[in-house]
């Protein structure tokens, strides 16, 4: 087996990670014996990995831990278990009871923001963090270029987004949706509901 320089460059990362099969490995080693350029690329790539792997390179700023701890203490909500917490719990239980009765009446159902939102079948992991906008109908992976109101984003869990009536973005959530029971027609319909006019 003979490999070219281009093939070596394509596999050099896998070679360093020892993720190439024995035949390719042997061919690459043979190539390195005769090719100065590829040997230079191999040595340099290994050096890059070694240099950046040194934990002294990217340290947290001085005082980071203290500032983090203070902010967590300041902004975390009050602990459960105090008198106020019990009152909230009792009120919440009452609301749940009322809600249970109300849910049986279709007039109280939470409206889905998109007709494509199907909480029971959306195969996106419930704990995956996604972004939504108050005026939007869909939830997205952060950075999705089909988010149309980037100034008013909220990060919430996918499960919560689905409960709030958001449907998955057909672009950035496609890999999950391909596993679902949604038909291609439904995917196209939903894509059309996105604002395609915005980008990065």
């Amino acid at each position: 087996m003979v490999v070219t320089c281009e093939e070596v460059w394509r596999e050099i990362s896998n070679y360093i990670e020892e993720e190439v099969d024995p035949a390719l490995r042997a061919a690459m080693e043979e190539h390195f014996r005769d090719c100065k350029h590829c040997t230079a690329v191999l040595d340099g790539t290994r050096n890059v990995i070694q240099l950046y792997g040194d934990e002294r390179l990217l340290e947290v700023p001085v005082g980071f831990s203290g500032r983090l701890r203070r902010r967590l203490e300041q902004e975390m909500p009050a602990p459960r278990g105090n008198a106020w917490g019990w009152m909230v719990a009792v009120a919440a239980a009452a609301l749940i009871t009322i809600g249970g009765v109300a849910r049986r009446s279709s007039a109280f159902n939470t409206p889905l923001r998109s007709e494509h939102a199907k909480p029971a079948v959306v195969p996106v992991p419930a704990d995956m963090m996604v972004v939504v906008t108050d005026d939007g109908k869909t939830f997205h992976a952060a950075g999705c270029r089909f988010i149309h109101d980037k100034a008013h984003l909220r990060t919430i869990a996918a499960g919560e987004a689905i409960r709030e009536g958001y449907a998955p973005c057909m672009r950035c959530m496609r890999k999950y949706l391909e596993l679902s029971s949604l038909s291609p027609m439904q995917l196209e319909d939903a894509d059309d509901s996105e604002n395609h006019g915005s980008g990065y």
Binding site: E6, W9, R10, I12, S13, N14, E17, K36, H37, A40, V41, D43, G44, T45, N47, V48, I49, Q50, L51, Y52, G53, D54, E55, R56, L57, L58, E59, V60, P61, F64, R67, L68, R69, R71, L72, E73, E75, M76, P77, P79, G81, A126, D127, M128, M129, V130, V131, A141, A142, G143, I147, K150, A151, L153, T155, I156, A157, E160, K175, Y200
Partner: protein, 221 residues
Amino acid sequence: MLSGTMVNSSLQNPGGASPEQQLIRRVQDGERELFYELVRPYERRVYTAAFAILRNEADAEDAAQEALLKAFKHIRQFRAEARFSTWLIQITVNEARMRLRRDRSAVIEPIVDHPDEEGNYTPRDFADWREIPSETAERNEIREKLLEALASLGEKYREVFVLRDVQHLSIDETAKALDITTASVKTRLLRARLMLRDLLAPGLGGSWSSRLSFVKGKKPW
């Protein structure tokens, strides 16, 4: 706030769950004061993940704090089958990406970006670079050059490179944290490594202290 020792000694009850899993359960059950103990081992990972995207210490620190607050608010949604560290990094990456999009106009565009990700990357420089000067990472000048080179990469390469080669996450964990495929991780990692080698080899391989060839805003080739 409980000390780490106290927390550990209170987690001796067996039952299959690791001390971290027990700690997560207790925080989920309302012991909010234990949250800092839970995330303390991951402070650096969270910070560097944010730094990889934002390229600025102050923004990265703020994003890291915000991400950990969000993690606390959503701690009940964390499921034991996922790795807690990956979950934290996923939240951090989302937070940092969101800030980057929001502040896009204030960010200097990367000088090295290759939208043609699927194409092969051709090394541009074949400088011999066999040895790394000793104590390199401790030398501020080298450290600054390494960070400058890293910052010059496109965002998608920086993210992957930092999670894999700086934080030493596995390929699979990197893919999960960034919500991309393992194949994309490998492709971007290869490009990031080769681009960094191209940027650094001419300087670090030779008279590294006097003639590093890359200057911000100017390509070395």
